[in-house]
Each structure stands twice: as C-alpha cells, then as structure tokens.
Symmetry: C2
Subunit: 416 residues, 2 copies
C-alpha cells in the first residue's frame, strides 16, 4: 500500500529543487524522456496489450464502451505523437524566470516580478495513457513536481510509461528525484484531494462526471471545466452561408469535443431561418426545439435550438444556461457583435468564427494544459503559463520602511 502523504511530501521537496533548475537541464530531461520512450516502445506496447486483454471482456459485457477502449489503446500513431509532443515541449520558451516587470521603488530599491512554478500538481486522468508523457513534460518544463493518477484500465501501461520516464530522468545530470510520481488506487485519489498542504493545483483530464466529482470534493484549486455548453447565436443580419459553414463545423467536425456547439439561438427576424435549419438537417444534424434541459451536452450531432427576440435575449440565455466555455455570434452588425462579446460571460466570445477554435494549439500556445472555465488564475485554453505563478524579488541596500513612513524618503515608483 502506498502511503500518500509520504509521496506528497517527497513531491513537495522535489518541487523546491526543480524550481530553480536551469532551462538546459530541463530540456535535456525532456529529450531524454522522448528518446527513452522511443527506445522502449516495444515494452510499452506489451504492457498496453495486457491492459487491452483485460479490457476486452468489459467491452463485450458493455462495462466499457468501444470509444473508451479505443482511447486505452496505444498504436504507432499515438506513440509517434507522444514522442513528438515531448520534443515540442522541450522547444518552447521557458515559462519560469521571466521578468514580468521591473520597478525602481526608490533609489537603490528595485522590485522584480518574476514568473515561477506553482509547486506540486495533482493530475487525475481517465483512459488515455498518452496523458502521462504529455503532463509530465509540461510539469518539468514549468518546473513543477507532479503526482499522476490514471484510470485503472491502463494500470500496466501507465506503470510502464512512468518507469521508462523515471529511468530516463535518473540518468540526467542534476535532475532531482521524485519530480514525477504516480499513484494507483481510489484511496490515493481521496488522499490527494485532501492534501492541500502539499498539492497546489489539481488538473483533471477526463469526462465531466470526473471533473464535477473532483470540484465537489477538494479545497485545492482545480484547473479545468466540467461542461462545454457552447452556443451559437445567429443574429438578424447574419449571412446565411457563414452561419451554415460555422454551425456545421462547430457541430460536426468533432461532436464529442467540449468546444462543439450544443445550442443554436436564432434571431426571430433572421429571414432565412427555414433555409438554415433545412441545410443543417441535410448535414445530418438533429434539431431539438424543446429540449428537457438547455444545459445539456449532447456530444453528438444533435443541436438544441430556440428563437430569441434580440441580442440581449441571446446573451441572457447564454449567461443563464451556458457553462462559460465558448460562445459565438454570427452577424454583419459590428455593434451587436461588440455587445455580445462584452456581455457574454464566457472564456471565449467569438464573432463569425467556429467555437471549435477554442484550443491551446490553435491559439498558438504551443502546448495545452487544458481548458478552464474558472474565473480566477487561468481561463480558456491554458498553455504552460497556467502552470506558473510569480514571486516578488526586492533588492535594496539596507532600505527600511520607517524612512518612508516618517517622511525622510519618498517612493518614486519608476518602471524600468
């Protein structure tokens, strides 16, 4: 049995050591991981086969869906993406030790705001074993320690991948121990969620019941989103072709993605409503006019729809039923677009573009930690920056506060 607190303590110690590691050592570590996965592909595939063999009867009995089974399965393509993903993260700019500002408070007294790691990340993920190399690499690049807990269906694969990673890290000169650790049991998850003394951020990667469970059961900040109830509002002045193209893309390009559209709102004065709905049905999109709930994520080619009287009514509907993920207005009226983007309280507010663009790679972040619907820390697609915070370095020459309180000296606050 693992003693979770000991693991958490060692992760905390590791986080203090990796915090000041040079970019060079971190990048050597990442490339060593990529090389090691490449060199140990066969072992990883073997472990994955054991998991798949155990999963097969569960698929047959219906306990595991075919799509979950596909996510458990590693193949050459996924393996290549895993390895390439680690190498890409090595190439990104170091997100820590960046000077966010430098301000001279007074002569000889200078304040530096410097980005730094958060500390210890707790990652709870389902099904996809390729998450391990990705999240471990993001953690290393951002100088955080990490404790991973994967789905039980891929225990053998997860164990093998982490063993490959840690064997590689052990050979990297100057790289501290215990930066990447893994736990396996349900009890460990319960311990992790209680462990706010050692774990600074929880990142769930999985379906919305997992994310909801985690958010309900921890006081540790959680980075992620439970629901993706995205909306498209077709305004009175919308161009029919633009509306068709965007809705079809947002609903059918990858229906189970969190940034797919679930609800279509149409302005009652939009003249081509019938044509639009007919064209969507031709694309095999099923339209539901009276859904049981306006906050339901279909994950399929199904779309709730409703007629609204104004852009304000659309905004009100979205702020009431949406999940604060990504919502779009299709219009030719720039003024309405401004009103929509300023008043819809979502991470992404789009004007004439598909909701499917809500993604860290598409935003140009180079890597994606996840998509957040939080209102603090990080919102929307989160890149490496979301795994950092900052500290203030103040460098003086014996400066004391009494001099300023008693009027002998005055701050001049010059940004340098």
């Amino acid at each position: 049995m693992t003693d979770f607190i000991e693991i958490a303590k060692s992760a905390k110690e590791a986080s203090l050591k990796i915090a000041s590691l040079s970019e060079d050592v971190k990048n050597r570590a990442l490339n060593a991981i990529a090389d090691a996965i490449e060199a140990n592909k066969a072992k990883i595939f073997d472990a994955n086969k054991v998991d798949l063999t155990q999963a097969e009867p569960l698929v047959a009995s219906g306990e595991i869906s075919k799509s979950v089974y596909n996510r458990l399965k590693l193949d050459e393509n996924k393996m290549r993406d895993m390895i390439a993903g680690v190498r890409e993260i090595a190439k990104l700019a170091d997100p820590v030790n960046k000077k966010l500002f430098v301000r001279e408070l007074d002569e000889g007294l200078t304040l530096y705001k410097v980005s730094c790691p958060i500390g210890v990340l707790g990652i709870i993920f389902e099904a996809r074993p390729d998450v391990i190399s990705q999240i471990s690499s993001l953690a290393i690049k951002s100088s955080n320690a990490v404790i991973l807990k994967g789905g039980k269906e891929t225990t053998n694969t997860n164990r093998e991948i982490l063993s490959v990673i840690n064997s590689a890290l052990a050979k990297v000169d100057g790289f501290p121990e215990n930066v990447v650790q893994q736990v396996f049991s349900r009890d460990d998850v319960a311990e992790m969620l209680k462990c706010d003394g050692y774990i600074n951020l929880i990142i769930p990667r999985g379906g919305n019941s997992l994310v909801k469970f985690i958010k309900e059961n921890t006081k540790i900040p959680v980075l992620g989103h439970a629901d993706g109830i995205c909306h498209i509002f077709v305004d009175e002045s919308a161009d029919l072709i633009t509306a068709q193209k965007i809705i079809v893309d947002a609903k059918t390009q990858y229906p189970s993605a969190c940034n797919s559209v679930e609800t279509l709102l149409i302005h009652e004065s939009f003249a081509k409503k019938d044509e639009l709905l007919a064209s969507l049905q031709l694309e095999e999109i099923k339209l539901v006019a009276n859904p049981d709930s306006w906050a339901f994520e279909y994950g399929d080619k199904i779309l709730s729809f409703k007629t609204v009287g104004s852009v304000d009514e659309a905004i009100e509907h979205i702020n009431k039923y949406g999940s604060g993920h990504t919502d779009c207005i299709i219009t030719k009226d720039v003024n309405n677009a401004e009103i929509f983007m300023n008043n819809v309280d979502s991470a992404g507010v789009y004007f004439n573009a598909s909701t499917r663009f809500a993604d860290g790679f598409r935003y140009g972040f180079g890597a994606e930690v996840g998509i957040s619907t939080n209102k603090t820390h990080a919102r929307g697609p989160v890149g490496l920056e979301g795994l950092t915070i900052y500290k203030y370095k103040l460098i003086g020459q014996g400066h004391i506060v009494a001099d300023y309180v008693e009027g002998r000296k005055q701050f001049h606050h010059k940004d340098l």
Copy 2:
C-alpha cells in the same frame, strides 16, 4: 431574515451589468460615493457612537481588547482617509478592458486576450468599518459586484455607510442596482461560503483565525493569507549596521503587521552575532532561542532566533516553517542572495531590505486588495489587477476549424 441566495443571485445579475460599464460611469460612481460620505459624516459618526457605546461594556469585561475597540472607532482622521481612498481609486487606470495580447491566428482571424472582471466578490471582514468604502470602491473600479459581511460589533456603522454608498450610487446615471450589498448574520457567512454557484472569490480581511476558518470551509477561491511568519537570515558576510537597521525596522516599526519579522536566522560564522543580538535587545526586542514553535506569529516585539550553518540550511528552515509571505537575506554575497531568492518559496524574497516593504502601496499598485500567500491567481500584495481575469475574443470572417484540420489552411500566429 435575509434570503442569502436571492442576494447572491441579484449580485450575479448586477455583475453581468457592471461588467461592461464605461470607465466614466464607474469613476462618477466613485466620486459620488466620496461626496456622499463627506456629506453624511455626522450620520456615520452617530451610528458609530451607537456601536461604541454597545462595545464599551465588552471592553470593560475583557471580551473585546482595547486595540479591537480602537479599530471599531471612526474618527476624523479615518474618515478623511476613507474619503481620500475612494477618490484615489477613481484616479487609477481602469483594470478591465485592457488588451493583454492581440494575435492574428490566420488572415482575417484575430484573437484578443482582454482583461475583464471576475464576477461576484464575497468580503468577510472584522472590526474595521472603513473596509466597506475601500472594498466597495475596488469592486466598482474593477467592475465586480460585491457582498460584504462585517463584524457584528459595528453593525450600525456598517449599515449606515452602505446606506450612504447605495443612496449615492442610485443617483448615478446608468449605474446598475445591487452591485454593493451587505449581509449581517453568521448564517449568511455559512451560506456565502457554500455559494460557489454565484460567488467567484472570497476575500477575508481580518485576523488569522478568521482566514483559517474561511479557507477550511469553502470551495470558492480565497484571496488572502492566514499567517505572516516572515524570516530574516543574516548571512556570514552581512554588514552589521545593515542587519541592525533592517531587523529593527522589520520587528518594531509595526509589530502586529503581517509583514513583520518573526524569526531571525543567523549564520554561525557571522562574526558580530553577539553585538547584533545585544543591539536588538537595546531596542527592546525580546529574543527567544528555543520557541515552542518555529511557526508562531508574535505580533509583538519578540523574535525567535536560531543559528544555521549555511544559506541552504536557512532556506530549508524557511520553506519548512514559513508561511510563504515575505523573507529576507542580509548579505554582501550576491551569489548567496541569488540562491536565497530563487529557492525560498515565498511571495516576497528580499535582499537587504526590510520585510515591511511587502505592501501594495509601497509596490506602487495605488491600492491594495490584500496580501496573498496563494500559489495560483495572485500572490503577494494584490492590486486591482487581482480582481480581474481575462476572456478571449476571437473575430473571424466565417472561419472554420475543418479547413485547418484538413490542411486547406494553416495558422500563422502573428502577434500584433
């Protein structure tokens, strides 16, 4: 009896309205508040007198300390500071609607990262009624709605101040209702802490038992700090006079402040240790060599002290017992200072400067929301920026993801 959920819902609605309010309306609202407090001083003093009269027997019986009583009490100086504080906040730059970056993802497809309010703030404060005007103003300036819960000892004062504020706001053209609300009971606090569907951030203003209680009892993000266990490490090469000056300032300038020093660590090879300790005792600082706990906040002219063998041992002690608030090294060795600042995991890491500088005004933020020891969102002294998050606006011309996935188009990610 107040129905807390109704208040929270109306705050949420108000937050959606104030989110897009112009800077001009917000500043007119702030100046109207300042004018109204000025014009209604007498009424506020009268209400405060009622509270003070009720508090007097509690002081006599020892239930309330004299220093708490002083904090309850409004006088002309505090009133002037309150009014000036509101006017100062009006003069600060608007923290919302700032373009944090603009990136062309592809021709005609442009991503804007724009600062915006968090939503609804819950403020729980003790004793000092002057917090109301300050926090209300910070909330308005940053376009957030706020629900305040003050200490029961100043119920009459709090009620009067908020009534003055809301009468003033009601007369400001275009300013929405219910932006600033107040609750009074213990039950309301319990409800507030559970209300994660409507409240986005809790800010406690008070002693560490209040802050600890709140952090233990809510899943809503809490901005603040419970303890201020600040350290000063006097390195082998430290200058005696610099060390004396800084330690005396950090311990005696305002001993009950959270950024006062509590523990002194001295390098065993620092030659002038005895002289330093003797000089501190001359300043009436009581030195404790074997404290019951290394994580105790004296709030008085008392200082734990310990000899350590190296800068690494000092860092280890601080990371183990500190509260991540503000810690200082006094040294002539720039290399040791770098090691200290990079490895101490605190919001403020100082080199030859008093820990008392940890303060939003001294950092040049213009206003201080509080000091945070969190590892996400905001850390250290927090200015108006800490009451904001951001949203992504994406403006396209009918752009769809399928074009990029299927290779017909490619992102070029140009920062503008």
